[in-house]
């Protein structure tokens, strides 16, 4: 308890620094600028579809099924893509059989789709933006000496920074959801919180086992998505934290993390035959795919596997951070 009492003022100090440095405002600003762009693009797409299919979503879904069935017969389509499409076809048929629109237009549906797309790159990049300079900036500006000359153990200084970082990770994710909902609602309307979404598609090779499929209200689905993205973000934050401890320059730490994240996105698209890539953290960022029932990028990946891989990477990076920070000499 005494230790906690010691830590709280430090966390408070760090939080105020974070707000005063306007790092979090930058994140909010990025969201407020970019989300309307995504929304507008989506709106144009919806108008385009309405022109072709009217308000009849069933025809649209059926056409999507037929188009995918057509590509299954082509020899030029790689086998992995066919697997994706077979699964997609079976899911869409399930929606049609139960007369549920998989993409009911609305602010809530937009948020759900946005989170799916943002989970592996966009949100981790935002997290990186607040995490990368949390230690290295103190070193760049020289204020680290002032922090460490106070009669407080070094690990407590670092821990307070870590706690602050994780606080802002949560805030970033909640802010993403809220901003997304508020802005897209302006265009699409705010309804749709209780629309059913199907989850529980279990994949067995290219076959979908629908015995566990059940509907959840859309708001709950978004909470589940946000929870999974939160776990990913916590791990990404830990890694960025470590890089920030290890590397003196803020820009170098940003480049390192960014390269790792983008490499992950490239790898997930082409690593299917290099199976040991599944032990890399950046291939495991798409936890929401397990919720939606889309196949994992590499054979043999499951939710449990991804969680363990991420947890191990996160724990190792914390270990390294604390070991290095408490031992290293602060020179200049």
């Amino acid at each position: 308890m005494r230790a906690l009492n010691n830590i709280l003022p430090l966390v408070k100090n760090e939080t105020i620094k974070m707000i005063k440095k306007k790092r979090f405002y930058v994140i909010l600003l990025v969201l407020i600028v970019l989300v309307p762009m995504f929304t507008y693009a989506q709106l144009r797409q919806a108008e385009d579809k309405r022109e072709k299919f009217g308000t009849d979503w069933r025809r649209e879904v059926q056409q999507a099924i037929t188009d995918n069935q057509n590509s299954l017969g082509s020899d030029r389509v790689p086998e992995e893509w066919k697997k994706y499409r077979r699964i997609y076809i079976q899911q869409m048929k399930y929606y049609l059989e139960h007369d549920v629109n998989p993409r009911e237009p609305g602010g809530v549906s937009f948020t759900r789709e946005f989170l799916d797309n943002a989970a592996t790159l966009f949100i981790p990049l935002l997290i990186m933006g607040i995490a990368s300079d949390i230690v290295s900036s103190e070193r760049t500006s020289g204020t680290i000496k002032m922090l460490l000359t106070r009669p407080i153990r070094r690990w407590k200084v670092l821990l307070s920074k870590l706690i602050t970082l994780q606080m802002f990770v949560s805030l970033t994710i909640i802010a993403t959801c809220v901003i997304c909902y508020l802005i897209s609602g302006l265009f699409f309307g705010y309804s749709g919180l209780n629309l059913p979404v199907f989850t529980g598609f279990q994949l067995q090779g290219a076959e979908v086992d629908i015995s566990g499929v059940h509907a959840v209200p859309q708001w709950l689905y978004i909470v589940m998505q946000a929870g999974l993205i939160w776990f990913v973000s916590v791990v990404v934050a830990c890694l960025a934290f470590m890089v920030s401890v290890l590397v003196r320059s803020t820009s170098a730490s940003i480049v390192i993390m960014m390269a790792a994240l983008i490499a992950g996105n490239i790898l997930t698209n082409m690593a299917a035959s290099w199976t040991s890539a599944k032990y890399l953290f950046m291939v495991n960022l798409g936890l929401t795919h397990y919720l939606a029932g889309t196949p994992a990028p590499i054979e043999g990946m499951t939710l449990g596997f991804s969680l363990i891989v991420l947890a191990v990477w996160g724990a190792c990076s914390l270990l390294v951070s604390f070991l290095v920070f408490t031992k290293q000499d602060i020179l200049n």
């Binding site: 099924i65 059989e97 805030l171 959840v216 909470v223 929870g227």
Partner: protein
């Protein structure tokens, strides 16, 4: 310093609540994914798709069947589906393509099982005109085999193939008429893509002729049906209307079929 205190209290509370919410969502999601059956029944799954009231416009078209229905071989991608809708629109009819459900390589058996899909049934029910193209893959199954092997199918074998698949065809027509009783059913007759290849020309002609007669006879049993002949288009100089794969029509071929179809559809 007071404002700093307020910032801290606000940020602290909001982030603590957010973390709790996210943690809850995370745990819920993990248990749900790990054990999906347990969460079943948390929200009532809507019942199966009920048949919707038909609001079909008389000229609205749904196309179903094989690669010909899809428009394979047409460089513009329109196929006879879009082309005939365009022609109808030029004549001043309010026509649109509801769905093109053509799938490459579809045969009568696969089409028959496809007719159970609720989405397919829905698309068919929205149409005033249903265009069917099927049978080519049943007769010319493995065209390479037919063209390359020394073994030419005997007339008996052709008879056999026609009779087996024509049973499927009858079921398809009956099913289509049951799904949508109002719509006009248009069948696109078969042609022989090998009519310029010596050796398999006669066999192909024979198969196509038998099939088309069977198709015509089947349709005669129903009201509101139409067969569009295409056989003659490809008999003399088929190169003119065939795509480079020497099997599917090209853009001109599809245009010719569409014009045929629209001529038959023209009514006051």
């Amino acid at each position: 310093m007071k404002s700093a205190s307020r910032i801290w209290r606000l940020a602290g509370t909001v982030s603590a609540l957010s973390t709790l919410l996210l943690l809850g969502g995370f745990i819920y999601a993990v248990t749900d994914i790990m054990n999906p059956s347990a969460a079943k029944g948390s929200l009532e799954v809507p019942s199966a798709l009920e048949e919707h009231e038909t609001l079909a416009g008389a000229w609205d078209m749904t196309v179903i069947g094989d690669s010909l229905a899809k428009g394979t071989g047409d460089d513009t991608g329109k196929g006879f589906a879009r082309r005939s809708v365009e022609l109808l629109q030029e004549q001043g009819h309010e026509s649109k393509l509801i769905n093109n459900l053509g799938i490459n390589g579809l045969d009568t058996e696969k089409l028959l099982s496809m007719l159970d899909d609720p989405g397919v049934r829905h698309a068919l029910q929205q149409a005033g005109i249903i265009v069917l193209s099927i049978g080519g893959n049943d007769l010319f199954d493995g065209t390479e085999r037919m063209a390359s092997s020394e073994h030419m199918p005997t007339p008996e074998e052709i008879e056999e193939a026609v009779s087996v698949h024509s049973e499927h065809y009858r079921q398809i027509v009956a099913e289509l008429k049951e799904i949508n009783t109002q719509a006009l059913l248009v069948y696109v007759g078969l042609y022989n893509p090998f009519s310029d290849l010596e050796g398999i020309k006669e066999t192909g002609n024979d198969a196509v002729a038998r099939w088309n007669r069977m198709a015509q006879e089947t349709l005669n049993e129903y009201e509101g049906t139409l067969i569009v002949p295409t056989y003659d288009l490809f008999t003399l100089g088929p190169v003119r209307y065939l795509a480079s794969d020497h099997f599917h029509p090209n853009a001109d071929g599809y245009q010719a079929i569409a014009e045929r179809m629209v001529q038959g559809l023209a009514r006051e």
